[in-house]
């Protein structure tokens, strides 16, 4: 079976330091793939490259066989990105934040029977973003990232700073997205998120290799260095 996502030999130098040196990996369509690595290993950098926020110094990014580093427009349509933190305008309501990403008819449709309905965003549409809980904010961010109906969704440490209830809610939403056919690539070091993943890749010394988690956090910590 041909993987939907392929990264080939990605290079990235940042302020004189080589962060990624020929990183390669692949992922199946409709799966959740975890990207593991210690702090500063380059996970966020890799996601930023795939999202088009920064440019690589070398390598290829293929989605269903199509090179996306050279096609920003196609990449913007195919890839959704939820960075770490809360990329929201905190003074605006949830609805106003969504209006930044959705055209009016698409917003109505999504709230009625689409991804936003599945995410339960309708519960807090009129609430100012600064007053939402961490879990609600994260659901809202994912809702924003899904505006263009991307086939690949990149999430950078999605459950950071969420309480237990918020985290459970979020993981449930990620599972539903996968079941709906979306491919997810998650940068994480959270054990619950790791447990959710169908495949894991370990980023260390600028290169990627497949990793099989045996359920022992001590082994994982040793691998991460």
């Amino acid at each position: 079976m041909t993987p939907a996502l392929e990264l080939r030999g990605i290079e990235k130098r940042y302020r004189g330091k080589t962060v990624l040196r020929g990183a390669s990996m692949s992922a199946e369509a409709g799966s959740i793939t975890g990207l593991l690595g210690s702090n500063g290993s380059g996970k966020s950098t890799l996601l930023n490259l795939l999202a088009g926020v920064t440019r690589p110094n070398g390598g290829g990014f293929f989605w269903r066989g199509e090179e996306l580093f050279r096609s920003p427009r196609r990449r913007a349509a195919a890839v959704g990105y939820v960075p770490q933190g809360t990329p929201l305008m905190e003074e605006l309501s949830a609805l106003d934040n969504l209006r930044l990403w959705y055209a009016a008819p698409a917003l109505a449709a999504s709230l009625d029977h689409g991804a936003l309905k599945a995410l339960g965003v309708g519960e807090f549409l009129r609430v100012r973003a600064s007053r939402l809980s961490g879990g609600m904010k994260k659901r809202l961010c994912i809702g924003c990232a899904l505006a263009a109906s991307p086939e690949l969704l990149l999430l950078d440490e999605p459950s950071t700073a969420l309480d237990l209830a918020g985290k459970a809610e979020l993981l449930d939403q990620l599972r539903r997205l996968r079941d709906g056919g979306t491919t997810l690539l998650i940068a994480t070091h959270d054990l619950q998120e790791i447990a959710l993943c169908d495949a894991l890749w370990l980023l260390r010394d600028g290169t990627l290799r497949p990793y099989a988690y045996d359920g022992d956090p001590a082994h994982l910590a040793a691998e991460l260095g």
Binding site: P87, D96, R99, W101
Partner: protein, 407 residues
């Protein structure tokens, strides 16, 4: 898609700004009021200093061969310097003197008409000496007039002494002469030559920064202060923003330049709204209280008209402020940066008192700043300040875009 997202971002920026506008407007009003008061206090304090400093007076015209006039000038230069001192320098032409006055090299200059003293001696009417001052040195007109009157009085007394001496000489030694009739004739002739002149000199104001009067200049300076301190007031809206939103927008295809453009348009809409409100309030004040405007030396329309000259410079200052928002680390850093930039630029560019009071290097720095170009434009629109403003605007937006792309 990108165009739709651009306008959606612009709308969101405007919405966000409108939500935060009331406290921002209040902060802007407070800052402007405080800056105006400080400027007034500073300018008042400096007026006293100015009266004690050396005053550079230029002289233009025919005076080299006039011994009396040279004597009068010497008297002025050597008079009591505990309050101030005068120094006279010859200037080739009135145009050169005017240029030197505007550049701050002179405090004033006097134009002595061709053959002034010769005409005076012959009892022929002549053009008056014109005394041309910058508006900022308005007090100098009275000051110099006073000193000239003193010098003339001294000359008169000296001449009278000479007349009496001549009278004594004639009485003691010239046979057949009537010393009293000769003395009376001399005194009468002298008085008819000198004292019959009602206007020996007139005072003109060449103005500051392109010919503005004193009150007009400070009205422009106050308007510039309003624009400069708007950046400080807007810190809650535009500074310390989450970088993640910018990244997510870039991932969706809306690049750093488009984001900067949307942000700039939103910022300018707010800034111009605020500034037009400020100009309208001034215009209303001028319409309702024309006597107050007249007391300041302004015509009724000036209060409405002059601030409008700040509309174009607002685009460059707005861009510079937007760039500073990106440079400040967090909201507190941006607040400090905006405040220091606004206060520094206002000071150096002559918002608190005319830049001609500064030493030459500071004056050049002040003129090269965006606020200097703005004040120059407000004083008298021209291609050079316009070019500077356009360059500053482009450079500031490029810097903001670069900072966004680095986030």
């Amino acid at each position: 898609m990108r165009a739709r997202r651009f306008f959606a971002l612009l709308r969101a920026e405007l919405r966000r700004a409108v939500i935060l506008l009331p406290p921002v407007l209040l902060a802007a009003a407070l800052l402007l009021g405080a800056a105006g008061l400080l400027g007034w206090a500073e300018a008042s304090g400096r007026e006293g200093d100015a009266a004690r400093r050396r005053l550079e007076i230029g002289l233009v015209g025919d005076f080299e061969n006039d011994a009396w006039l040279r004597m009068g000038l010497n008297a002025l230069e050597t008079m009591d310097s505990s309050r101030y001192s005068l120094r006279f320098s010859r200037r080739g032409s009135e145009r050169e003197a005017l240029r030197a006055l505007r550049a701050g090299e002179l405090d004033a200059f006097a134009v002595i008409p061709e053959g002034f003293l010769a005409a005076l001696e012959k009892g022929v009417e002549t053009e008056p000496i014109r005394y041309v001052s910058g508006a900022g040195a308005q007090g100098l007109g009275t000051l110099l007039a006073d000193e000239i009157v003193r010098a003339v009085a001294r000359l008169l007394a000296g001449t009278e002494n000479a007349i009496y001496a001549a009278q004594d000489y004639i009485a003691s030694g010239v046979p057949g002469a009537d010393p009293y009739a000769a003395g009376d004739a001399l005194a009468e002739e002298y008085l008819s030559l000198i004292l019959s002149r009602e206007k020996l000199f007139t005072v003109e104001l060449a103005g500051l920064s392109g010919g503005l009067g004193f009150a007009e200049y400070y009205l422009c300076a106050l308007s510039l202060l309003a624009l400069l301190f708007w950046g400080v007031a807007c810190v809650p809206i535009f500074a310390g923003r989450d970088r993640e939103l910018g990244r997510m927008l870039r991932a969706s295809g809306l690049g750093a330049f488009a984001q900067t453009a949307a942000e700039y348009l939103a910022y300018m809409a707010l800034m111009l709204g605020f500034y037009l409100l400020y100009a309208a309030l001034l215009g209303l004040f001028g319409a309702l209280r024309p006597e107050a405007a007249a007391a300041l030396g302004l015509d009724r329309g000036a209060l409405a008209r002059l601030p409008l000259r700040g509309l174009l410079p607002a685009f460059a200052l707005g861009a510079a402020q937007l760039a500073l928002f990106g440079l400040g680390p967090g909201r507190l850093g941006a607040l400090l940066l905006q405040f220091l930039a606004a206060a520094g630029m206002a000071y150096l560019s002559g918002c608190f008192y005319p830049a001609s009071f500064f030493p030459s290097p500071l004056r050049e720095i002040g003129a090269a700043l965006p606020s200097g170009a703005a004040l120059s434009w407000m004083g008298g629109p021209g291609p050079l300040p316009l070019l500077w403003l356009a360059l500053y605007c482009a450079a500031a937006l490029a810097l903001r875009t670069w900072l966004r792309a680095r986030d």
